[in-house]
């Protein structure tokens, strides 16, 4: 699981992209996606490909790692493309393959949609690969902060997120322990019919839930013992700070988005 799919993982490095404020990266990602959806000129797509390639190079994350890690996505992109080529009915007919008439618009629209999918996923992956999950949580809290005025518990949500992130490895370890313990008792959930396999999962999930609840209770007590009284009126140790480079990047991205929009009218 860990090696096969990398969306959502974080690789610590000290690159230009890593050093940007998480908010800068999120804003840039949003602007990028907007750009992608307003344009329909082929040459701008080549610009976008160049931009994404540039970002990947700047992040110092090996391209081979990205290519291997996003394997399931490649299939999705290729299938999307083929689907459009085969079933698009606009434009000039080009040629005929086993009764399917292929139109030029099929290539163009298929290429556009597949490109959008591809570029969006690569950029989103790049965000998580270069930003620690906690920094993303902090950024989200900052973006959502105005909603606390409406009485939404944003600070609590942020703490919940942070604790969940902290507990993922613990729970994974626990799951592993339980599955070994149950395998030692003769449980096998890797073979047989789907229904049997699902049934065999129960003896794994129930102990996992029970231990998760116990852990939650103990953790709540430990938090309370350390003076936790709710997520408001706390100070914060972690800080996200906008630096000069962040302002420059946000300005550049905004300018680029607006000018591309005006150009394509």
């Amino acid at each position: 699981m860990k090696q096969s799919f990398i969306l959502g993982q974080y690789i610590p490095r000290d690159s230009f992209i890593h050093r940007l404020d998480p908010r800068t990266k999120i804003i840039s990602l949003i602007l990028f996606v907007i750009t992608m959806f307003v344009i329909d000129r082929l040459f701008i797509y080549s610009l976008l490909y160049g931009f994404v390639l540039g970002c990947v190079l700047l992040s110092t994350i090996p391209i081979t790692y990205l290519i291997k890690g996003l394997k399931p996505v490649w299939w999705l992109v290729v299938i999307t493309f083929i689907f459009h080529v085969l079933f698009q009915r606009d434009g000039e007919a080009l040629f005929d393959v086993f009764g399917f008439i292929i139109y030029d618009q099929g290539f163009i629209q298929g290429g556009e949609i597949a490109s959008r999918l591809l570029l969006m996923i690569v950029m989103a992956t790049l965000l998580t690969l270069t930003t620690p999950p906690l920094a993303i949580t902090d950024a989200m809290r900052w973006f959502l902060a105005p909603l606390t005025r409406l009485g939404l518990p944003i600070n609590e949500l942020a703490i919940m997120m942070a604790i969940s992130l902290r507990l993922i490895p613990t729970m994974t370890e626990e799951m592993d322990k339980i599955s070994k313990a149950q395998a030692a008792r003769g449980l096998d959930y890797t073979r047989g019919r789907l229904r049997d396999r699902l049934k065999a999962l129960l003896p794994l999930l129930i102990p996992l839930f029970i231990s998760a609840f116990k852990r939650a209770e103990a953790l709540a007590m430990a938090m309370e013992a350390r003076g936790y009284q709710g997520a408001d009126h706390r100070t914060s140790y972690r800080q996200i700070a906008f630096r000069t480079m962040d302002y420059i990047i946000v300005c550049l991205m905004t300018t680029a988005t607006v000018s591309i929009y005006l150009m394509t009218g």
Binding site: P133, L134, A162, I163, L165, R166, P169, T170, E173, R215, A218, L219, M221, A222, M223, E224, A225, R226, G227, Y228, Q229, H233, R234, T235, S236, Y237, R238, Q239
Partner: protein, 275 residues
């Protein structure tokens, strides 16, 4: 100073009391070990001290403040608590974040926070692990971080509820020597719940709980003198005590009851040189 006056406590929906009319005073700067069999109420007593449990009747006072549901938050700034399971008290995503958690709750300004985090990690010798995630730490290291988290809050009292029971001998030794150092240098009150009587012998005072009452309260040496009587309250006398008692039974007298191996070895040498 901690005072319990006529304290009774019963868990909600439970028929019987854990404590009835318990009286106890612990002075500032004392090192107290609390021992007793499973279910004798040690953890419950610990939780009464910082308001995780509130007395059903009677009063618990910490530095003359009575613990109530209003005052408990203020009291928690003076009493730090380390629990048994290292995994279940690590709140932060990294070591530094975990130490910061308590300080954030106290709304300590960030620059002070940074200083205190470094200082307390230094005290438990975990500075090198500042940015590590808990999954990359051993149980003993996690427990030292838990101790650092408590120290950063600069409490007057530290309560340890079987904090070393899940550690190997080396981890145990490290945690205990840190506690010893803190006790000597900073004069913090240490209240240590334990099942290990060798560990209890390190304290200035041993309190033995049995069926919700104080069965013994006094010096570790007097406590170990009870010898076989300890079986009555579900405790096993340590090896050193057993040797001493065997010697006494054989009418071989030594100068004083040994507390730990070194004292026993000294006594045995003395005997050997006499003969």
């Amino acid at each position: 100073m901690i005072e319990l006056e006529q304290v009774s406590f019963r868990y909600q929906n439970e028929a019987s009391h854990v404590f009835e009319n318990l009286n106890l005073t612990i002075e500032q700067g004392e090192w107290v070990a609390i021992v007793g069999r499973n279910g004798s109420g040690k953890s419950t007593l610990a939780k009464l001290l910082n308001g995780l449990c509130l007395a059903t009747s009677g009063v618990v006072r910490v530095n003359h403040t009575v613990i109530t549901s209003e005052s408990k938050h203020q009291v928690r700034t003076q009493i730090g608590m380390v629990f048994q399971n290292p995994e279940n008290q690590f709140v932060g995503t990294t070591v530094a974040d975990d130490v910061a958690f308590g300080l954030e709750n106290l709304a300590v300004p960030r620059d002070t926070m940074i200083k205190r985090i470094d200082q307390s990690l230094e005290q438990v010798d975990m500075t090198a692990y500042k940015n590590h995630e808990p999954s990359r730490l051993s149980g003993g290291q996690k427990q030292r971080v838990a101790l650092a988290s408590v120290l950063a809050m600069q409490p007057e009292v530290i309560v340890l509820d079987e904090a070393t029971s899940m550690l190997d001998p080396i981890g145990k030794e490290q945690v205990l020597s840190i506690i010893q150092e803190l006790h000597e240098q900073l004069d913090v009150t240490v209240i240590m719940v334990t099942h290990d009587l060798n560990e209890a012998a390190l304290a200035d005072r041993v309190i033995t709980l049995n069926e919700g009452t104080v069965w013994f309260d006094g010096k570790p040496r007097e406590f170990l003198e009870k010898g076989d009587q300890l079986h009555e309250v579900g405790l096993e006398p340590p090896f050193v005590t057993k040797v001493y008692q065997q010697l006494s039974r054989q009418s071989i007298t030594v100068t004083q009851e040994p507390l730990h191996y070194e004292e026993l070895v000294d006594e045995l040498w003395r005997l050997y040189l006499k003969t």
